[in-house]
Amino acid sequence: MISNFDYATLQQLWWIICSIIGALFLFLTLVQGGQTLLWQVAKTDLEKSLVITSLGRKWKMPFTTLVLFGGALFAAFPKFYATSFGGAYWVWMLILFSFIIQAVSYEYRKKPGNLLGPKVYELFLFINGSVGVLLIGAAVGTFYTGSNFTLDLFNRVTWDYTLMGINLRGLEAAFSLFNLSLGIFLVFNARILGALYLLNSIDLSSIPDLESRLRKNVLTSFLIALPFLLYVLISILLMKGFSVDNTGIISLVSFKYLSNLLSMPHLLVLLVLGILLVVYGVISTSYKQSNKGIWFSGLGTFFVGLVVLCLPAFNNTAFYPSKLDLQSSLTIYNASSSMYTLTTMTYVAIGIPFVLAYVVYVWKLMDSKKLTKEEVINDESY
């Protein structure tokens, strides 16, 4: 069946696969969000150990998903990979740097002789959870606001945005209120998810203080995230978008993303459902003392993420637009791999559900018992 897919179908399918991976990453930023909560919610060494150990059992998941997101984009949309990573150099470098320092922090923080002391590793985790997620949000924001590049006949990228004579190579993404708002929203959404996850995974029966701090944080993070989310959503509905006509010419069109939403009502439904699920997760945790909020808000985040990534790519829209030269903008049709590669990768992708199945199975197996104080004191812990 796959061998009969036409080129456009494969290109669309692969954008959906990349979006699913990206949206899964946004759900898994619960780890990053949890990292930013550490100093706020954990007041004793034991509480810190509980929080870090609980998050530490999952830290590789968002990390691996991010790496897979990069790998899938490389394989399926190499022109985007080359243009964005090579062009918006500093945004990606700083994101990567924040993940490098995260990777060692869990393992090293409590180990004797760790050279830097636990506080520095905790700071590394905080930087990853805040700056890292913020910049990822800003980078995704450029799917809507555009970037400052041109491509030549051989698709070599030239990036041109200077401030005081310095080419900022992508850092200017953080100067856009829209990009920044998306980034801040993601940081606080990750904090909501982090707190919800910790409430679900730790046995808090004998530590009510930690529980109340976590519940309080769910609500405060939500209230901070809300205006940024609203700003992003309203902007998306009102902003001009980068439209592609039948001949491949790209132009700015008013209310493009609103029109995309109306043309693709399933995305509108997913967006509304996603937001409602996030809100329900928060409300059920804050007012009904539920510990299952993570599944609602997590699924909601996944849906919202899917919409955010699919909306600027489908319905004849350029997903990585250039502000400097509209015709250099990337669409899922001009940035993709060849038909042969996409077909081959689609066969490979048949394995993804099996991977997801064992990830879910092992997650359930490991989290069937809540993490207890005793376990952190007596067994392996971070």
């Binding site: 059992r57 999952k58 590789k60 990390f63 691996t64 991010l66 897979l68 990069g70 790998g71 899938a72 490389f74 394989a75 190499p78 022109k79 990979y81 243009t83 964005s84 990573f85 090579g86 062009g87 150099y89 990606w92 470098m93 990567l96 740097f97 993940f99 490098i100 320092i101 060692v104 393992e107 180990k111 004797p112 002789g113 760790n114 050279l115 006949l153 051989f154 698709n155 070599r156 990228v157 030239t158 080419n167 791999s337 060849s338 042969y340 590669t341 081959t344 990768m345 490979v348 993804i352 991977v355 064992y358 990830v359 092992v362 997650w363 197996l365 490991m366 018992k369 376990e375 392996e380």
Partner: protein
């Protein structure tokens, strides 16, 4: 196109820096994951808690190493985009696929079961825990499969065609890419060298305990398992090394000439077992390439072509040509390559201007010289030669150490089987030798990496795409800054890792009942 060589060299340096740091930790992960699986299998089979304690001890060291391996690894994947975006576009259609498959099938296996391996002792059954440990080992090594498929393709590009319309290489046969003989020989050689290195690591720490008279039982048990694993893997490394060299000779003759310091090709060529290169030697001159050397007659012809009487081309033959042997020099290739590059540019411009007649004509001319396109970017014939001294010394250090390791493991196994490792006399020679063996293993590992990658120069994709046109259009200062950022953070993390490891080794295994 304008080439900023400063940027190219900084990008090169950054890739070398990050890859060499990464390569300190990865081979240990490849091998130690299996050793942990062996130790735990013995525990599950015997039920002896001492084996569990021993497993947990090695797992702790594995975890410390694994974390920094992951930290240094993420930058490698994304560096292709950040510093080498032209490369990413030109070969992304082929090169991206193995990286994505690595993510889907290898990284998730590692990441998922790693949590069980470390935190699942009291959460899952004994057998599921053992299964998880094995899955981490399989996942780690599966990751090596895919990255070496990608690297093997850089050394021996197969299964693709150049598409002038898109100005990139496109995959047309995935099976050829996966079963590329260079990729296969690279994987078996590299992964078995990881097993060997991890065995040396276990040997080193165990020898330290024996010298100090601490945790003797655990050290002896560890040495037995590591010696068996090390002996098998080091023998296999030597065997696959031969196959690897054969592949180099067949597909990358210039690399073989460089690693052997062979300037003038020979029939019945001897191999240089050891020697010091003449630093004043230049390609094309008549000076002897060696100040001193010890040779093994016929061995290079045998290794390169599986025939004692065969001709092995040298650097001069490959650069300046050798009519007698039918070898075309680099100069005519450069001329043809420049024609191809120019005709491709004319074709692309004509396409843009919708001038179909001009496009057709230039495309036909391009196709005449298409296979030499990469040479069109070289300015001099000597540019086609990789750095000889680095390649030569790295290769010979690797081979010398690779020959020594099987002997070392055999001696350790001999004394371990006789239960004589605690003999006082061994403290004077064998145990100190074991103590430094991990360092020697590390030197061999890094040397192997240098042989593979420095020997590939000046090509990113061998014979097709020079490194200097693979970079991002980026001011060198950006890469300089990130170079020092990575140098600083990786050095800091390495120092932390070593200190933590030393502390854990000094604490030793926990005696849990």
């Amino acid at each position: 196109m304008d080439i900023d060589m400063s940027m190219v060299n900084w990008a090169r340096a950054q890739f070398a820096l990050t890859a060499m740091y990464h390569w300190i930790f990865v081979p240990l992960t490849l091998g130690l994951s299996f050793l942990c699986a062996f130790f735990e299998s013995i525990y599950v089979r015997t039920g002896n808690k001492e084996w569990r304690n021993l497993t947990k001890f090695w797992m702790t060291l594995f975890g410390i190493n694994f974390a920094i391996g992951v930290a240094t690894g993420i930058i490698l994947e994304f560096q292709f985009g950040t510093n080498w975006s032209n490369y990413s576009w030109i070969v992304g259609d082929i090169f991206g696929a193995p990286l994505a498959i690595e993510g889907i099938f290898a990284f998730f296996l590692e990441a998922t079961f790693f949590a069980v391996m470390f935190f699942g002792w009291n959460r899952v059954s004994k057998k599921f825990h053992l299964f998880s440990t094995w899955m981490v080992a399989v996942g780690s090594n599966l990751s090596a499969v895919w990255i070496l498929v990608a690297n093997g393709w850089m050394q021996n590009p197969v299964g693709m065609v150049f598409n002038p319309e898109t100005a990139r290489f496109e995959m047309h046969n995935f099976a050829q890419v996966i079963f590329n003989p260079v990729a296969v020989s690279k994987f078996v050689h590299t992964s078995s060298s990881g097993f060997l290195f991890a065995s040396l690591f276990v040997l080193t720490i165990s020898c330290w305990y024996l010298i100090k008279g601490k945790h003797i039982q655990m050290a002896k048990r560890s040495i037995i398992v590591a010696s068996v694993f090390g002996l098998l893997s080091s023998s296999y490394v030597a065997f696959t090394g031969d196959e690897s060299a054969y592949q180099v000779a067949q597909r990358q003759p210039m690399k073989l000439a460089a690693i052997e310091g062979l300037y003038k090709g020979e029939t019945k060529a001897p191999i240089v077992a050891a020697g010091i290169l003449n630093p004043k030697k230049h390609p094309g001159d008549d000076q002897d390439p060696f100040l001193v050397k010890i040779e093994i007659p016929y061995a290079l012809s045998l290794l390169a072509n599986r025939s004692l009487n065969s001709f092995v081309p040298g650097i001069d033959d490959l650069v300046y040509g050798n009519e007698e042997q039918g070898i075309e020099g680099v100069a005519p290739k450069i001329t043809k390559g420049k024609k191809a590059v120019n005709n491709l540019a004319v074709f692309k411009q004509a396409q843009k201007e919708n001038n179909s007649q001009k496009a057709e004509l230039s495309l036909a001319k391009f196709k005449e010289n298409q296979e030499y396109m990469g040479y069109g970017y070289l300015e001099t014939v000597e540019e086609a030669i990789p750095p000889v001294a680095i390649s030569y010394y790295a290769f010979h250090i690797m081979v010398a150490l690779g020959t020594f390791f099987p002997l070392l493991f055999a001696v350790f196994l001999f004394y371990a089987m006789k239960d004589a490792l605690t003999k006082e006399s061994l403290k004077r020679w064998l145990l100190p030798m074991g103590l430094i063996s991990a360092l020697l293993g590390l030197i061999a590992q890094e040397s192997g990496w240098i042989v593979a990658e420095v020997g590939r120069q000046p090509w990113a994709i061998y014979g097709l795409l020079p490194v200097k046109i693979s970079t991002t259009n980026l001011a060198a200062v950006n890469v300089q800054i990130t170079f020092f950022m990575f140098l600083g953070i990786f050095t800091l993390l390495l120092a932390a890792e070593i200190k933590i490891m030393l502390k854990q080794i000094s604490i030793g295994p926990k005696e849990e009942l």
